[in-house]
Amino acid sequence: MTTAQTGEVVKEPSAPATPSDQRERDRMRRRLARRRGGGWWPYLFLAPWFVGLFGLTIYPMLDSLYLSFTNFDLLTPAQWVGMDNYDRMFTDDPVFWDSVHATLVYVVVSVPLKLALALAVAMLLNRDLRGIGLYRAAFYLPSLLGGAVAIAIVWRQVFGGEGLFNDFLGWFGLNTGQDWISSPDTALYTLVLLAVWQFGTPMVIFLAGLKQLPKDVFEAAAIDGAGAVTRFFKITLPLLTPIVFFNVVLQIIDAFKTFTPAFVISNGSGGPLNSTMLYSLYLYKKGFTDLQMGYASALAWVLFLVIALFTAVNFIASRYWVHYDD
C-alpha cells in the first residue's frame, strides 16, 4: 500500500494544463451546461419512448387502476364496486396474507444470496482462463431455460424425493429421502434455491460492468503493490457501484414480481398449503383462473405501491454509496 490512489478514480491523463487552456475549458463547460439544458434534443431522443409510455403503458395501467374498483370478471361488463376489493384483501382473505408472507421471505432471502453469488462468479470469470466462454455459458444455462413445460418437469424432478438434490446431499450423508418440493416447510426454500440457481442475469450484467472498467487503474494499482482484496474493495467495487445498484434495484423489483419459478415448483397451485403462493402467482390465479380480474387488478396495485416504496428507499440510500463518473 503505497499511494493514495486507492478509491480515487483515475481520469484520462491529459496534457498539462496552461492557464489559457483552463479558460478555454471553462468556456466549454458553460456552453455544455447550456447544451445539457438541452433545448429540444432530449425530447427527440425520447420520442419513441414517449409514444410507448402513453400508448402502451400508462393507459393500460390507468385502465387496470379503474378495474381495481370494479368486479370485472373478463366475461361480462365491469361494474363499479368502490373500495370493496381493497377492503376484502385486508380483512377477508387469508390466502392474501399467506402470499404476502411467502413473498417477503422470498425477497429477503433470495436477493442477497443471488447477488453475492452472481458477483463472486463474475469476478471469477473475468479473467484469462482456458475455456472461460464455456464456463460462462454453463453458468448461464439455468437462466436460459425460462419457464417452459419441460423445465418445470425437470426442476420438479431435481428436488423430488429421488431427485438430484437428495443425491447431492447423499454425498455428505444428509439424504433423508425428503421430497423438498412437496413439504410445506421446505417448498419455499426450493424456490429460493431455484432463484439463486438462476443467477445468470445479474452475473452477465456484472461481467459487462467489469469489462467496462478502465484497465489502467488496475495496472497502476498493481504497480503500486495493492493486493487483490484491497483492489477489489478500493477500486473494483466503487467503480462498479452503478451496476451493483442497478442489480439491487432490479432484483428486488423482480423478486417481488416473481411468477415463473413459483408456477413451476408448485405446478401452478401455490401449494403445498399455500407455502409457495408468491404474490404474482396468486394475482394470476385470481385474475385468470378464478375470473376475478377486478380483484386481481387491486392486488396488482397494492404490489405496485409496495415495490415503488422499496425502490424509492433504494434510490434515496444510493446517494450515500453509488459513485458515478459524470
Partner: protein, 295 residues
C-alpha cells in the same frame, strides 16, 4: 484481459497481472468444473429423457436411458401438421425484431436520461421505473384490447412494435447506469470539436456502451424467445405459433401426452438461445479490448 493476482515477489507486476500460477489455476478450474456440473445437470436430464420412450421417463428417472428411442426427435419435428422448423422460424422473427427494437429505442432514451437536463426529468425517470413495477398480468387485458382495435391480433406486431417504443424500461435503466459510468470528458472533447448530440450519441456513446448493448441483445433474445404469455394471447393460429406454443401441443393431461417428443423439441429449442449467448458473450469480451478507454 487481465487475471488479477497479488504481485508477490516479482520484478514485473504487470507480467503478474497476465496469468495465474499453475496450482491456483488448477484449483480455479476444479471449482468451476464442479459448479458447471451442478448447473448443467438439469439439461443432461432433459437430454436423456428426450431419448427415452414415454413409459420410461418417469418410471426410471435416472440419467442413463435403458431403452433408446430417437424417433422422439423425428416425431416431434414433424408433429401436429406443422413442422417444428416453422415454430423456430416464427420465434426468430419475433426475437430478432424485438432485439433490434430494444437496442435502438432503449439506447436513444437512455442517452437522453443520462446526459441531458430537461424539465421534469426526475418525474419522467420515475415513471419509466414505475412501468417496471406493475405486474404484466394486470395490464395484459387492456393491452390486448388496444392491439385488437388495431387489428393486430394474430400478427407478430404486438410482440415487436412495443420494443421499438422502448417499453422495456429494464434496458433503459441498464443503459443509463452504463452511460453514467462513462467519463464525461469524452463527450466534452467531442463538443469542443463542435459535434452535435446526435453525433456524440452515434460516434462516442454507442461504441463505448458496447457491453450494455450486447447484454441487452442477449437478454432481449432470451426473454422474448421464452415469453409464453404474450405469444399465447396474441398468436391465434397455428401457422403463427412460436416455439413455446409449439411445445404445449405435445402435452395434455386429459388425452395422453407425448413427453418424449416434448423433451426432444425442448432440447432443440434451447439451441438458438444457446447459440445467441455464445456468439454475443464472445463479443462482450472483445467489447472493451477494441473500444478501449484511450479515447
Amino acid at each position: 484481459m487481465s487475471a488479477i493476482t497479488p504481485p508477490r515477489s516479482s520484478t514485473s507486476p504487470l507480467h503478474k497481472l497476465r496469468s495465474a500460477t499453475g496450482t491456483r489455476r488448477i484449483f480455479i478450474h476444479t471449482v468451476l468444473i464442479g459448479v458447471a456440473i451442478v448447473m448443467l445437470y438439469p439439461l443432461m436430464w432433459m437430454l436423456s429423457s428426450s431419448l427415452k420412450p414415454d413409459t420410461e421417463i418417469f418410471t426410471h428417472p435416472g440419467l442413463i436411458p435403458t431403452a433408446l428411442r430417437p424417433e422422439n426427435y423425428s416425431e416431434g419435428w414433424s408433429g401436429s401438421g406443422n413442422s417444428f422448423s416453422l415454430y423456430i422460424t416464427n420465434s426468430l422473427i419475433v426475437t430478432i425484431g424485438a432485439v433490434i427494437g430494444n437496442v435502438i429505442s432503449c439506447s436513444l432514451a437512455a442517452y437522453a436520461f443520462a446526459r441531458f437536463e430537461f424539465r421534469g426529468k426526475k418525474i419522467w425517470f420515475g415513471l419509466m421505473l414505475g412501468t417496471l413495477m406493475l405486474p404484466t398480468q394486470a395490464v395484459l387485458i387492456p393491452q390486448y384490447t388496444i392491439f385488437y382495435n388495431l387489428t393486430w391480433i394474430n400478427t407478430f406486431l404486438p410482440l415487436i412494435v412495443p420494443k421499438f417504443l422502448a417499453v422495456d424500461a429494464f434496458f433503459i435503466f441498464l443503459m443509463v447506469q452504463f452511460i453514467r459510468s462513462i467519463p464525461r470528458e469524452l463527450d466534452q472533447a467531442a463538443m469542443v470539436d463542435g459535434a452535435n448530440p446526435w453525433k456524440i450519441y452515434w460516434r462516442i456513446i454507442l461504441p463505448l456502451m458496447k457491453p450494455a448493448l450486447i447484454t441487452t441483445t442477449i437478454f432481449t433474445f432470451i426473454w422474448t424467445y421464452d415469453d409464453f404469455l404474450h405469444q399465447l394471447v396474441y398468436l391465434q393460429q397455428n401457422d403463427k405459433f412460436t416455439v413455446p406454443l409449439g411445445l404445449t401441443l405435445f402435452l395434455d393431461q386429459t388425452s395422453g401426452s407425448s413427453y418424449g417428443a416434448m423433451f426432444a423439441m425442448s432440447t432443440l429449442a434451447l439451441l438458438p438461445t444457446l447459440i445467441c449467448f455464445l456468439i454475443f458473450q464472445k463479443r462482450l469480451v472483445e467489447g472493451m479490448a477494441t473500444s478501449g478507454m484511450k479515447g
